[in-house]
Structures are given as C-alpha cells and as structure tokens.
C-alpha cells in the first residue's frame, strides 16, 4: 500500500524544488532525456504531484541516473524545471539518509 503525503511538494521547498506543480505531464522531458529510461524524469515529477513520498524513498538510486544535462529544463513548455526538480529530490534523499 502506498501512503499519499499531500504536503510532499511543500516539504521539498527547502530543497529548492518549487516548480513541480507547474508540470502538466506532457512527457516532453521523458522524450528528450538522453537516458531514454522509463518515463524519466516525468515519473518523478508525477510522484511529487501525487504526494508519493515513499515511492521516491523506496527506489532513490534512480535519481542518480540523471546527468543533470538540463535538456529537459531547456525544452519544458511549462517551465517546470524538471532537471532542477531531480537535483532537489537528490538533496531531499541525501538529507533523509543523513538524518536516518
């Protein structure tokens, strides 16, 4: 069972993530991403929107596949900044590791 944390997007504010809710899931980021990997990074942005905090923490290593190349941010029609969202999620996970 997945618990939903509606406050997750707000929690990410202090890790520099404040654009995830702008995303309308068009998939441009996943189409242009050089990883060509399972709807990445769109999937991660969607997890934030849904408050699926546990999904992120269960498989956090996926975030480090991101090359931080910025192509997704460059092409996002909603200026949702997916590349920086992924970087912010990495910060959130590192903080979680250090505190636990």
């Amino acid at each position: 069972m997945t618990l939903v944390h509606p406050e997750f997007a707000e929690e990410l504010d202090r890790f520099g993530v404040d654009t995830a809710l702008e995303c309308f899931n068009c998939g441009t980021c996943a189409a242009i991403c050089p990883l060509i990997y399972e709807h990445f990074p769109r999937k991660m942005v969607r997890y934030i929107q849904l408050g699926a905090r546990d999904q992120i923490l269960e498989h956090p290593e996926e975030l480090w596949r991101c090359l931080h190349c910025g192509l997704c941010t460059q092409t996002c029609p909603r200026e949702a900044n997916p590349g920086e969202v992924i970087l912010g999620l990495k910060r959130f996970v590192v903080d979680h590791w250090r505190r636990n």
């Binding site: 975030l63 596949r65 090359l67 192509l71 996970v93 590192v94």
Partner: protein, 308 residues
C-alpha cells in the same frame, strides 16, 4: 550501478578532509605551472579549479568502477570511506600513469599561452587554486557543497580576488552562478576562450565542437569559442544537437554507473562523427569520456594555441 549513497559519502569525506574529491594532495595534482613563467600579480586570477588536472585520476578510478560495476565486489565501495584519506589519495596518484598527467598539464599550459597571446593581464597563484566542489552539488550533497564553497570563496575574498578566469564549464558555473547564490561572495568570472583576442593565418581546417551542457545551456556561452575559432580561420562544422541543444557526453554518470555513462557517450560520439571533421571538446569531463570511445578528441585550447 553503484550505491549513490556510498559514492557520495566517499567523495564528501574526501573533500571534507583534504579539499579534493580524490583525496590526492594538491601538491601532487597541481604541477602544471612549475615550468611556466607566470606572474603572481595582475588584473584577473587564473583559476583552474583542478578539473583538467583530475583527468588522469578520473580515468584511473573509473576504470576500476567499470570493472566491478554490478558485481558482488561493488558493495565494497562503502568501506572506502573508512580508509585513511590522504594515504588512499597518494596511492591513486602513484598508480596513475605520468604520461597522462603530462597530457593534462599541457592543456593548461596551452590556455596560459592563449591568454598571453591575447594580452590578457592575468596572474596565477597555486595556493589559491582549489577544487570548486561542483561534484558534491551535482550529486545532491548540498550541505557538503556549501561548506566547501564557503571555504574556497573565503580564501579568494581574503586574497582580494575580484576577477577570475576559468578553464572548464563546471568550475565556471560554480563560481559564476552557485557561489554568489550559496556563499554570498561574487566574482567577475570569464571563461578563457571569451578573452581570445588575436587573429592568425596559422589556422585553417575544420572541426566539430562538442558543446558541454554547462557552457551550451546553463551559461549560454557556445558562441564565444566559435567566434574565437572564426578569427583563426578554423571552420566549425555543426551537428544538429549543438549550442543550447547540445547532447550530454555521459560523463556525469561515470562515478555512479560507468555502463550508463558509456551508453550515452557512444550515442553522442556517433553523432559527432557524422561530420567527418576532428572532434573538439572544451571540458575535462567531456574530453576524458568521449576519448573512451577510441575517437580522437582534442581540447579546444590545443586548437587555439596552435595559432598563437
């Protein structure tokens, strides 16, 4: 894929204790300036950020990571954080071939030659040349990055540095964009190729530039190397994905997943090869990673220095 947590803890521990991601003493890494006649005072500080000097060490350490990725031995990386930092750093330095170190130093000598030929009033102080901490930022270890960045920016500020000339995109981004944001210290930062100010008839020929993501997109500096090459009579043959739409070389993934890094790199090299012109990089990470394909890749500084 390696555990990001293990890799981050090793790198963060090294930077905390030694100010270097590889824990190699600076006196062993930064030797390029020793045979140069460089001024120690001037208008702008040449700040290498040690990234080009790291190329041979990155190559050596990632060759081990490549070998053990997804094997049972991969999990042993977590114990690396318990090793004495400087001792393991010196060990890596001694295992790295001297010839590779010379090649990396040559790039920096070329950059100094280009700046001198351009009549740039610059100086160099090895004691002020530090690693910027950018890998910690990219890996998401914000706390360690900010701590290190404050240490470096503090040293520069106390030395009265106002203008900085950088040589690679990662250090340029760190000093130009991240340091003001996270340390409160600002400097006037320029990449060395923005200062090329001479024409030459020694140039000629053509090249295909591989724009690094940070120069191409984050800093939007792709026009500057093209302008410099145009003055030297070198023609740039473009691939479709260049400038702000450049494609990644795969290098940033090399510490976490060498196989993923290779996959992305091979796609990029295939694209760059379509022009038939020699491939030219302008970032130490791109240069090292693209060369792993076996393709001949030259650094931009060598092309410009040949005309100086």
């Amino acid at each position: 894929m390696y555990s990001p947590r293990d890799i981050i803890e090793v790198i963060a521990g090294n930077v905390r204790k030694t100010r270097s991601p590889f824990a190699i003493p600076r006196s062993m890494v930064n030797t390029w300036w020793k045979k140069e006649t460089l001024r120690s005072e001037g208008d702008a500080l040449l700040f290498t950020g040690l990234m080009y000097q790291f190329i041979p060490y990155i190559e050596k350490s990632t060759s081990y990571l490549e070998k053990y990725e997804d094997t049972k031995l991969a999990s042993l990386v977590r114990f690396a954080k318990y090793q004495p930092k400087r001792l393991s750093g010196i060990g890596l330095a001694l295992m790295t071939p001297g010839e590779k170190k010379k090649q990396a130093n040559e790039i920096l000598r070329n950059i100094a030659k280009v700046l001198t030929r351009s009549d740039v009033d610059f100086y160099y102080k090895p004691k002020l040349d530090f690693y910027s901490g950018i890998l910690l930022y990219d890996l998401g270890d914000q706390e360690s990055f900010v701590e290190h960045a404050k240490f470096v920016s503090g040293k520069l500020k106390r030395a009265g540095v106002k203008k900085i000339i950088t040589v690679d995109p990662h250090t340029t981004y760190a000093l130009k964009v991240l340091y003001p944001k996270y340390t409160g210290e600002s400097f006037e930062v320029k990449a060395y190729f923005e200062l090329v100010n001479f024409s030459s008839s020694n140039g000629g020929g053509q090249v295909t530039l591989h724009d690094p993501c940070f120069y191409g997109r984050y800093l939007e500096l792709s026009d500057a190397p093209r302008r410099a090459l145009e003055k030297l009579g070198v023609k740039c043959v473009e691939v479709r994905n260049s400038g702000t739409f450049t494609n990644c070389c795969g290098g940033p993934a090399e510490s976490i997943s060498p196989s993923l890094s290779k996959e992305v790199m091979e796609r990029r090299v295939e694209e760059l090869r379509t022009t038939g012109a020699p491939i030219v990089a302008m970032c130490p990470i791109c240069l090292g990673n693209l060369r792993k394909s076996g393709a001949e890749v030259e650094d931009l500084s060598a092309v410009i220095a040949r005309c100086a």
